[in-house]
Symmetry: C2
DNA sequence: CAGATTTTTATGTATAGACTTATAAAGAAT
DNA sequence: ATTCTTTATAAGTCTATACATAAAAATCTG
């Protein structure tokens, strides 16, 4: 039962995982404090701390000062998704990347975009509608709004060379953003651009990014049928 | 430019982020080693290490022994999604949760399921088709295969009381899994069960989980229209 | 000069000890 | 009984030091 000589934080973490898994420590239970565990395992408290900190971060343990550490009652699994630049994703599959700007105009945005980007009623944004192609076949339909106040040189950029996404990543790095994943039904426009049937289910990513408390861009990317995001748990 | 007296790892991390953001250290650049940084910031090397380790984990830096630390050329943003138990997700929105088992049978699975779960050609699985409801309205349509070899008592469980998901989380915790997100088009069956129009785009989560190198379950969850997963970057 | 070997070096990790901070719990005051 | 104050405690963190490990760079060798 007791395990002495667990000198690396990985070993300690493994043993703690094992005990939770084997219900030695049940969901909701308090576990011994760091000092006691470090004695039991024959290592320093810092080593135990490192092991437990990571488990708390992944949601398996809950820790509070003075209160101690307990096994999470209903652990929420966390999945980490890579959000790649579309060109890299396509090139990573050994396909040829290209993209096409369909429209590019400066105008006052509709209310929902104005609200999401928290801009004034008179502010104009750059709207960029484009499509990314993999081996010359449509892959993503992109509808983007860019705030010229946070991306000042945006009007002069030639987006036929570099996609808006990449230009922004390189020049206006964001510090905060939110992202959502959902599904939509292909309308006539999407079907035409993505070369699919009207009424087909399509995967959608929507993203808003911020810098210094000001919005940079809002983008909605609609993927061609069959697209999936994949990761491990 | 130089910043002395950054004594906490958060402060060090903030300063490093700032320098990367301000292009003091450009993508692809090597940054000073830990020892030098600890001198510059006036803190211990362990503090610098803690700050940089987290940045490397989030993909902003690349570190290799002896080679040193460099700013990632094309940082891949990582989004962390919570994968909640459906009941908790619904109850968290103050809605009433319930679920209904539509079919429950033991049979040999089709080839794709057999391949994904890596089981023998004669092995039988428990197939469970159910629907989760929020305020009595259909929310998720779930098609699940369970391996009785890894979940031995599964045949005796009363899934009208506890959903298969929750029973498994409580009794057969998995140690590894993979998950994918995609979109599908509602067929007649999905439309009937989820009370939506045929041809509507629906969000889909597919998951396979493992324990001791054996598969536990494969599940495909199709969400009612309008569902979205959301997180921050 | 290619290939094997040694050296050097930056990160990775462990440790004992001290101090900080949040906070649960006990005690005091109302 | 309720509210305020104190105290004890467990996690959170920083430090100096030491050693481990991977891998680049330098050196040796045939």
């Amino acid at each position: 039962m007791s395990a002495a000589g667990l000198k690396s934080w990985q070993a300690v973490q493994g043993e703690v995982r094992r005990r939770i898994d084997a219900r030695v420590w049940k969901p909701g239970d308090m576990i011994p404090n760091e000092a006691d565990l470090s004695v039991e395992f024959g290592c320093a408290r810092a080593t135990v701390n490192r092991a437990l900190r990571e488990l708390a971060q992944s949601g398996l343990l809950e820790r509070r000062r003075k209160a101690g550490t307990r096994v999470t009652m209903h652990p929420v699994r966390k999945a980490t998704l890579d959000i790649p630049v579309i060109r890299h994703e396509i090139e990573g599959r050994q396909q040829a990347y290209s993209h096409m700007v369909l429209t590019s105009e400066r105008l006052k945005p509709p209310g929902d975009i104005r609200a999401r980007m928290q801009i004034g009623p008179e502010d104009e944004l750059l709207r960029l509608v484009s499509v990314h192609l993999a081996d010359a076949r449509p892959h993503v339909f992109e509808d983007r709004w860019i705030n010229p106040r946070t991306a000042p040189n945006i009007e002069q950029v030639d987006f036929s060379a570099l996609s808006a996404n990449e230009w922004l990543v390189l020049n206006i790095p964001f510090e905060r953003g939110d992202i959502s994943f959902s599904a939509t039904t292909a309308g006539a426009r999407e079907a035409g651009i993505l070369a699919c049937r009207e009424g087909e289910g399509l995967f959608v990513i929507e993203r808003t990014t911020w810098r210094n408390g000001e919005s940079i861009t809002v983008v909605r990317q609609t993927f061609a049928p069959g697209y999936r995001m994949h990761t491990t748990l």
